[in-house]
Amino acid sequence: MLSRSAQGVYWMARYLARAGYLSRLLELQVQFLVDRSVEEIHFGWKRIYRCMKRFPPPGEAFLPEADEFALADAFTLADDLTFERSNPDSVWSAIAGGRENARQMRHCVSGEMWTCLNSAWLRIRDLEAVDIWRTPEVFYAQTRSEIHNFVGVADATMYRGAAWRFMRLGRAIERAQLAVSLLLAQIDLSRRTERRTLGWASMLRTHHALEAYGRVHGIEMKPDRVLDLLVAEPSLPGSVLATVQAAAAELEGLGAGPGVEADAAARRLAGRAEALILYDWPEASAPEELLEQVNQSARDLHDAVLGAFVDYAIEDSPLR
């Protein structure tokens, strides 16, 4: 497979995973606006911004002891995270990025996948926050659903070649990074509040893990159990372990890349991230430190994958 095509498919998957994840976060957050306390709403915005590593836009203060997260109203924050064209991680920008990569690599994805994604893009392309604000949760749910559809259509129609694996690899790495970032934000923020359980239920909902949690642990919400489930449960598709294992499996399926050193590094990093969770996590005294290590491994894995398959030195490459 052409290296640039592999890179395009990989980025397409990363962008779409980002758009889907952020849509899910915003879907739950705008539901909170209806019936949750100001503290909880505030907590939710703060967690999203931390996860996305972004500062909120300035706005009018409406809380007496306002910090930057309270300086803007919900509409402004949602707009910034959803439609802001200059925000490279907004839902709009991520879908635009995914669609543009797919447009350039249409010959590498199935026609059904392209139509599915292009239809989603055509729906969102000209929208602004004011267009969705009467029922924002409907918009976010639909966007998330369209991305789920895309993944399902890919599963049903895409040829299981190298493009398939690069797509899955991109998705897994993006989801691993986002899940770890959100968990780190949650751990840090919940330590700063007196309500230690604040935000943990919505963490489960974000990862579609509420039912799984109930099945394993019952109805009592214990932060350490939630954390354990979201990090180390291999049967939960959105857990950090599941995403790291998915990345390792796709790397294995791809076989060796021509960038020999980077290829070895990629396999080592994927293995290390998996081993950290499987073997160190159960005994970890400082979970955030271990999650930081996993996060670093996922970031390095991205560079190593590109070095192994895309940006390798030509001198080292075999001629075919």
């Binding site: 052409l2 447009r103 292009n118």
Partner: protein, 477 residues
Amino acid sequence: MDFSLYDFDPAIYDEMFVAEGQPREHCRAVVEALRELPDDDLNTIQERVTRSFSQEGITFTVYGDEEAEERIIPIDCVPRLLALAEWRELEAGLVQRIRTLNLFLADVYGDCRIVKDGVIPADVILGCPQYRLAMRGVGVPNDVWVTICGTDIVRTHEGFMVLEDNLRVPSGVSYMIANRKAVKAGLRLLYRRSRVQDVEQYGSLLRQTLCELSPGGRPDPCVALLTPGTYNSAFYEHMFLAHEIGAELVEGQDLLVNDGFVYMRTTSGLRRVDVIYRRVDDDFLDPLVFREDSLLGVPGLMNAFKRGNVALANAPGTGVADDKSVYAYVPEMVRYYLGEEPLLQNVETRLCRRPEDLEYTLDNLEHLVVKRVGESGGYGMLVGPHSTPEERDAYAKTLRADPADYVSQPTLALSRSPCLIDGHAEPRHVDLRPFVLTGNETRIVPGAFCRVALRRGSLVVNSSQGGGGKDLWVVDL
């Protein structure tokens, strides 16, 4: 569809009607079926066709002053019909013409007999900016210089005429196939009953043709389609064709030349490329030979090509044969190389480089179409009857400054075909661009990208100038 108000004009050839209300023989069944189709149904079909283009992202890019814009070519759902016998006649003319042009290219980059024998003046060829000195003495696989040709054909009461031979990187074939797919889905029963000749085998024929160029006959050659990139106006087509022919869609940055061979960078290392279907103009192909500021090309590509290690389709330098000045000599070329009379006529063309032709052109600007030799896409053109005196004065000034850069032709009454405009049938001017493939033999799918001047009265069919498209049905009725 209501044809009762259809504006039939006996002075202009109508593709569907021979007289007011009287369909041509091969159009009768289709006209009857369209008449029975309620307007609402046809409007729905039209909307569906447009929507399918939008959903599938079948676009071209238009560059404005500030930013590029992805646009959809407006497609009219009413097909244009051609009888199979008419098609056969056209096909024979196209085959004759491409044989001639390939012989001409081999000659002008070889012995130049045609110049020595005084058929074409040397300055017409040497003065053509598309003449590539780098190609002098270079042989091409199977003597095929033009692998893919898109010939613009118009029709008047006098018959078919060639308006332009596009021998460099002709585009539009993806719209031929997309139009067919969309219109066929809309007019299912009518399509089936009309025994329409198929065009969807174009991709496999193109693949077969390209493989025949494989250097040294290497079996199972690696074929790549070289695109200038995603910002090119025809990028959709490049992607579409790469998919159709199972080729990698590469940009210059994906290729490199090592020891006289071309390789592409893949996820499993460097892979040798045997055939490149290039959609990049000559100027940008190889910065070591052509424009040195080109970022789109591949340094060393021409060296690999000259050594016979990679085939380029079309070969560099083919533009000399579709130059608007050289075009005027094609009928003479047919007689010279083949000893035959041309089956397809040219549009009468005056070369403003000749003083008498310049004078005639300046005296008759309001009746003529004047074109710049090096332009395409409808740019740099004056359509005399549709121009104002001020526009003609300004144009005359630039024409006098560089007469060799212009040719003039009479304003043709291009044939018209019914289109669905605001819910009813209106005639619009049309042309057609069939695609001619040449490898070991010449292959033409029975169809074409039919272009339509959608603005009322307009003769300009170019998509960048407000033109649209239509499906062309070659029917065996």
